[in-house]
């Protein structure tokens, strides 16, 4: 347990050092590519915080990403609202959390778990995407909203303007690092241990005095709030918001990122998101239709062969050699 914590912190520290050094070697374009990948990494970490600790899969997590994105877009595009960026981020977090609280309340307190939860959240994602397409007077319909300004705000007399590549990279990387570290400390402590217990045997945990539905609900709301934040950051960096951001494809992709990176590790999903997006760009550059096919195959292979993610290869090899040594 303690050795595992130390390893995690070590890998985290290495990632932070790499993230700090990266701007020295990368040009502006490469920085923005990694910055956007990091935002999706934050999104993956938010899903992992819920899925990894509760074992319940949300198949519509992009709905929260999209809700965050649309709220950010609507707030910042409206000139009448002061402090657009800050209010937009706050609204995006609150909006995603609110929707998660309402849906989660009925599901968790109604005893919906496992595959049923997955199916209901899948439907939720589809509904959100349809709403974004159909409510065109507000959302801009199929084509979405464009011209979303970069994040800019004043804090303590200092003006922060994220329209340039380097500042926006630093801003995003710091947010991702802080949130991943915070989620990790929550999930390794008392909160996470009780969640693991609930995942093992919910009735038993309740018979010991734990309010299991409430704990699952709060975890889900927190997860959705971070997904909403990721959505808000993304639309400001991309400058546009479109219905795909809450769609089924993104919901599937985020599951693949988490599965590839290693469910329950929080850091793995961030790395998984970055690695897969880089691969996607490379492969799509010589044949755009190859990628979805490959993505599907990778997903199937991971689920069957490496259900604990790519990082588990190391642990598996270790236990294999250990077993050999004991057998000799």
């Amino acid at each position: 347990m303690i050795a595992r914590d130390r390893n995690w912190l070590l890998i985290f520290a290495v990632c932070v050092v790499l993230a700090v050094l990266y701007p020295l070697f990368a040009d502006g374009y490469q920085l923005t590519v990694i910055r956007d990948a990091l935002i999706f990494g934050l999104f993956a970490a938010s899903l992992d915080f819920f899925w990894g600790r509760t074992g319940i899969l949300c198949f519509g997590h992009a709905a929260f990403f999209g809700i965050g994105g649309y709220i950010m877009a609507l707030v910042t595009l409206n000139d009448a609202i002061p402090f657009g960026s800050l209010l937009g981020i706050a609204g995006a977090i609150a909006g995603a959390a609110f929707v998660a609280a309402i849906i989660g309340y009925f599901l968790f307190f109604g005893g919906i778990r496992g595959s049923y939860f997955t199916i209901v959240t899948l439907a939720m994602g589809v509904i959100c995407q349809q709403a974004a397409i159909s409510w065109s007077s507000v959302t801009g319909g199929d084509s979405g909203l464009i011209g979303i300004p970069p994040i800019a705000f004043d804090v303590g007399g200092m003006h922060v303007d994220l329209s340039q590549d380097l500042p926006s990279y630093i801003f995003v990387a710091s947010i991702v690092a802080v949130i991943v570290l915070a989620l990790w400390s929550i999930s390794r402590g008392r909160w996470g241990t009780v969640l693991t217990a609930i995942q093992d045997n919910e009735v038993r945990a309740a018979a010991l005095g734990h309010n299991a539905p409430l704990r699952l609900l709060v975890t889900f709301v927190l997860s959705a709030a971070i997904a909403g934040l990721a959505g808000a950051l993304y639309v400001c960096m991309a400058g546009l918001v479109a219905p795909d951001l809450s769609g089924l494809l993104l919901s599937t992709e985020v599951i693949v990122w988490v599965a590839v990176g290693g469910r329950g590790t929080l850091l793995g999903p961030v790395l998984g998101a970055i690695a897969i997006q880089r691969t996607q760009q490379t492969i799509s550059s010589f044949n755009p239709s190859l990628w979805p096919l490959l993505l599907g195959c990778v997903f199937v292979v991971i689920v069957f062969v490496l259900p604990d993610g790519i990082l588990s290869i190391y642990a598996r090899l270790k236990s294999l050699f250990k077993g050999r040594r004991q057998a000799q």
Binding site: T193, T196, A197, N201, R204, L208, A212
Partner: protein, 234 residues
């Protein structure tokens, strides 16, 4: 009267056309130990489910310290001071022995016993870091008793605590319960007559959902009808 902890009065429960329990009464006083025995299908586990509030009786009432507990959410019942050990060992397999006990303590309104003492009580003092899923069957049963103790219950309900145990483990469990007697009330539903004999306490014999006999175990054991229905079959 004031030391009555749990009072079940005229409890009956009907599942469709089946009268599973009929006109059962049970009074558990503070710090009392009692057993419920009976052949398979006598309604022992159903009665225990009614006592813990997980099943609502179709007639009669169950009151714990004067509160009607039928239909309360499980965690509220636990916080009133009712701990329960399930028939199938229900520990958290992916947590260590120590974490299992920690989770149990965190659920309690006012935990008192330190983890180390709990582990010694249930003879798992040297297994703190072992994953609960890797424990032997009997040790899982003990760990579960330890988890029930961790919430500092007023009343501990045990559903077949010795199921699947070796005779030695069964006797060790009986000794464990006798040591704990006097700290809180214990109700054990059991099948294993040697275990109940070792406890030698107030015993309620169920047969086909009804009370067949009740009283101290040595009297119950001597009863002709009980022997015919239950003991004689063994």
């Amino acid at each position: 009267m004031s030391d009555v902890l749990l009072r079940a009065e005229n409890v009956g429960i009907r599942f469709g056309g089946l009268q599973a329990l009929e006109a059962l009464n049970l009074t558990v006083r503070d710090k009392e130990l009692c057993c419920i025995i009976g052949p398979n299908g006598a309604g022992k586990s159903t009665f225990l489910n009614v006592l813990t509030g997980t099943l609502r009786p179709t007639s009669g009432s169950v009151r714990f310290l004067g509160h009607d507990i039928a239909g309360l959410p499980l965690h509220r019942i636990a916080r009133l001071g009712i701990a329960r050990k399930f028939q199938i060992p229900s520990v958290f397999p992916s947590l260590s022995v120590e974490d299992n006990l920690k989770v149990a303590r965190w659920g309690a309104p006012s935990p008192a016993r330190p983890i180390a003492e709990l582990m010694d009580l249930v003879s798992l003092g040297n297994r703190a870091a072992t994953l609960a899923g890797a424990l032997a069957h009997g040790q899982k049963q003990w760990l579960e008793i330890g988890m029930a103790l961790a919430i500092e219950p007023r009343l501990l309900l045990l559903d077949e605590p010795t199921a699947g145990m070796t005779p030695q483990e069964t006797m060790a469990t009986a000794e464990m319960l006798l040591r704990l007697k006097g700290e809180f009330s214990i109700v054990a539903v059991e099948h294993d007559i040697r275990f109940v004999r070792a406890l030698n306490c107030e015993t309620l014999v169920l047969h086909q959902g009804r009370r067949l006999r009740s009283g101290p175990f040595h009297e119950v054991e001597a009863d002709e009808m009980v022997r015919d229905v239950y003991l004689g079959r063994r």
